[in-house]
């Protein structure tokens, strides 16, 4: 189990910097404008996740075989990454809302 989590995190690292930048920008905008921009930020986050999916599938597709040889499927990698990343985004928004 720990090994699977470590491998998923390795896969996530290729995407982490872009994710941190986008989530931080969303946090700053939410802090400035509040709940009124939440819907726009939600769709911005979804769109950037879709773009990231496209770029990783295009430019890092060969690396999938590293994970396949360790018995991790593409579906498991992507579901884990997307759910984690989206939950972090929601967590940040809720935290900022409470702080406000």
């Amino acid at each position: 189990m720990l090994k699977t989590i470590r491998l998923i995190f390795t896969f996530y690292k290729g995407f982490l910097l872009a994710s941190i930048i986008i989530t931080s920008c969303c946090g700053l905008i939410f802090w400035e404008y509040g709940l009124s921009v939440f819907r726009a930020l939600f769709w911005l986050k979804i769109s950037t996740l879709a773009i990231s999916f496209y770029f990783i599938n295009t430019y890092k597709a060969r690396e999938y075989y590293y994970y396949h040889n360790l018995h991790l499927s593409k579906i498991l990698l992507w579901c884990s990454l997307l759910i984690t990343d989206f939950l972090l985004f929601i967590f940040l928004i809720v935290l900022l809302h409470k702080l406000q």
């Binding site: 090994k3 470590r6 491998l7 390795t10 690292k13 290729g14 890092k60 060969r62 690396e63 999938y64 075989y65 590293y66 396949h68 040889n69 360790l70 018995h71 499927s73």
Partner: protein
């Protein structure tokens, strides 16, 4: 002893039939060679057996059918024709992931003695290929599919790899394809030629020419 049988495979792209009449068998203790011209579908066939390319097929290991052999631990490892290790990973981490002993690796390939902490992206093409080949073959599994294992290797490395594969076949069945066909025929126990979407068992070296793969 474990057996692998691939049959009933039909693969087509946009109406063009790539593979249509395939029968291929491999077993523990044997290296099975697969030769064919570019575009005949050798890599596709390996991906179909591995389970990352979907089509009509029957893949049986020990008489049991599988769809995605890669998802079952201990069943199948695959060396694609391209580099597949993420460039940022160190050799230490790679060997940890694949549950392999680095000391055994460096005793066989001493040129890696001081590279335990080197990342994959810093290795030369030949060194990286050697690491990929080693982890694919050494990882515990019933079968290994090797697509162009000799690419980027120098002659000394190639000879070492041939010895390594010949030793390792005692532990698993292997299916190998490479355009350096003399290396393949030099170590394989049985050989298939892929031509016009069909597999043809080659009984002798002369069959390679008869089936149009190479001029001897």
């Amino acid at each position: 002893m474990h057996t692998l049988e691939a049959s009933g495979i039909r693969l087509q792209f946009g109406g063009r039939v790539i593979l249509s009449d395939i029968y291929l068998a491999a077993a523990t203790g044997r290296i099975t060679g697969l030769l064919g011209r570019n575009g005949e579908g050798k890599s596709c066939l390996m991906k179909i057996i591995y389970g990352t390319l979907h089509c009509e097929k029957s893949i049986q290991i020990d008489k049991q059918s599988y769809d995605r052999t890669y998802s079952r631990p201990g069943l199948m490892q695959y060396l694609p024709q391209f580099n597949f290790i993420p460039a940022s990973l160190s050799l230490k981490r790679i060997f940890k992931d694949f549950e392999l002993d680095y000391d055994l690796f460096q005793s066989r390939f001493p040129e890696f003695a001081a590279k335990h902490t080197a990342v994959a992206g810093s290795l030369s093409g030949g060194e990286l290929r050697l690491v990929e080949l080693y982890i694919t073959v050494k990882r515990s599994s019933k079968f290994a599919l090797l697509d162009e294992p000799f690419t980027h290797l120098n002659p000394v490395q190639t000879e070492k790899v041939k010895t390594f594969l010949t030793e390792e076949k005692a532990n698993k069945g292997m299916l190998i394809t490479d355009h350096l066909y003399r290396h393949v025929t030099g170590i394989c126990d049985s050989l298939y030629i892929l031509s016009a979407g069909k597999t043809h068992p080659a009984k002798s070296i002369a069959d390679i020419q008869r089936l149009g793969y190479a001029r001897l």
